[in-house]
Amino acid sequence: MTNSIGELQGADVLLVTGSNTTETHPQIARNILEGVDRGAKLIVIDPRKTELARQAHVHLALRPGTDIALVNGIMRSIIDENLADDLFISMRTEQYEKLRDYLFRLNLDEIAAITGIGLSTIRKAAKIYARSSNAVICYCLGVTQHTCGTDNVQAVANLAMLTGNIEKAYGGVDPLRGQNNVQGACDMAALPAVLPGYQGLDNIDARRRFQQVWNCDIPQTPGLSLTEMTHSGAEGDIRAMYIMGENPVLSDPHLKRVETTLKQLDFLAVSDIFLTETAALAHVVFPAASFAEKGGTITNSERRVQLCRKAIPPIGKCRADGHIIMELGRRLNCPGMDFTSNAEIMEEISLLTPIYGGMHYDRLEENWGLQWPCWNRDHPGTKFLHKHNFTRGKGQFTITRHREPAETVETKYPFTLVTGRGSYHHYHTATMTRNSRRLVREYPEALLEINEKDSRALQLQPGEPVEVHSRRGSVRVKTVVTDRVQPGTVFTSFHFWEVPINQLTVDAMDSRSKCPEFKVCSVNIKKVSHA
């Protein structure tokens, strides 16, 4: 997030796109709704009528996979209304003219036809967004999990720069991070192409510093991404894997391929708190300590590095993952694997990672942590980003063009399946929530959301199970009739192993971000025949 979470309630306009915020980020949704209570306008872009969409002043229920066309339409309407922030554009950005010329060539009626949203609604949203002095855009995986995910994000950035809604307390572009420490895992370079703090593998100065402190060489070629590893297949290059606290056998697209890949490995080690579907395939399983049994820091969506404290000793013979890694490191002769405390590890992190330069445990103990970039011990942390200039200098406008998703509906597969987190009470592959008695009680099984019109056409009884088929597989799942989804679209979650919906999903991904297209997959729905 370029902003802090608390700043959301001070914005005049909140544009939420591809995020079911009330269910997936309840406390962020609370800030959004507090803003609305104070008079802010809420625009929601989502094919589903989510709870937040019901509260919105304008709900743009677009056809799945047409975000770029919609945002281009909004930007064109803003320029037509003469509402672009010319001062911001001239001082802080470059290549605006190219984008403007492209937008002028667009046919707005065509955009209405592509997105399925009336032109007057697009114009209304554009006026609300551009007329405000402080507008925030929140987006989540509904924007990124497309084959055109990177361009979707670029389109959102174009929109914010066009109206000068960046670089300030109550305006910005805010990706909401899904897991408690997905921000930190990225910051710490659990990524194939960077070193901690997003320092490039080809950054000579950074490499030298790491090699000095680590006292060894660092490989220079970027590694494989998660989906490239888990989809490498039987003939793949990956022969051994170590998986810490993840469950790709349920969470990754096109599951049959993931299973094939993991089963043919010469060696698979998994460290987790439960025997997940992935751990069940492993040669070695390490029992990991849960969050309550260890200390350390995690970094939230607003870049706030916070201390977690150990509440109880590890149960049974469990050990913290940090401990397990160091034990393995010593056996593999990895240099510098003899830390005695988390604080000591953080000292090495702050030494090598400029944006974490001032993160020291004694400082984190005070207040409520620190937001990066925090360059040194005296730096107070950063509430919002890009105050005087962007990371690359000037903000660059880039033309983004609509293109159809990898799979489009056809006679054999006439429905569009959208997947995501499906409930306030569950989380991802539900290894934790399904071990919480009360959460299971609230939402015990997977449900496929289907519109009443489609349900009637299929002659379904309330709750009747159906078979959902895609080109890659099929699952059986109970239905729930709801107006949350439009006719022609169905939605379900990937929480339940009994309904491994990712057997159906497409493994096509964005060529740059490697983010799979979870939000659009063509399926057919059949009544379950009674034998």
Binding site: P26, N181, T227, R239, I315, D321
Partner: protein, 133 residues
């Protein structure tokens, strides 16, 4: 009875949560009133954050696959076996034949250590996590 301040383990909001601890058992979770995000509030997952910690389904000992089935072993045996298998893979098929998945559920320190192990210990940049899922 003790109250331990920590951060919720579910989503990226990062709410401040107190864990109520009695006899080394976490028996409840409730929000910090002054934490900038939670401000005295939690969602249903946060209020039940402690429930899975003592689930009877928790893994409690290292397991090693012996003649087809996962069998309890000592830490030493599990760690030695893993280190040897990773070294064998590195020697026989090269460091880039090893893939490491880190976790958005683990701490910064653990993620830092694991990428260090991959890069400095094994010599590969094949490390990633679920940021895209």
């Amino acid at each position: 009875m003790r109250d331990v301040m920590t951060i919720c383990n579910y989503c990226g909001c990062g709410c401040g949560v107190y864990l109520k601890v009695h006899n080394n058992t976490v028996i409840g979770s409730y929000p910090s009133r002054h934490h900038p995000i939670s401000r005295g509030n939690l969602c249903s997952k946060g209020w039940h954050l402690h429930e899975f910690v003592h689930s009877s389904n928790r893994l409690t000992q290292p397991l090693l696959r012996k003649s087809g089935s996962l069998t309890p072993v000592s830490w030493e045996e599990a760690l030695d076996y893993t280190a040897k298998a990773l070294l064998t893979a590195k020697e026989q098929t090269g460091a880039d034949s090893i893939g490491i998945l880190s976790s958005a559920k683990c701490t910064n320190e653990e993620n830092y250590l694991l990428q260090k192990l991959a890069r400095a210990g094994l010599g590969t940049n094949n490390i990633d996590h679920c940021a895209r899922l």
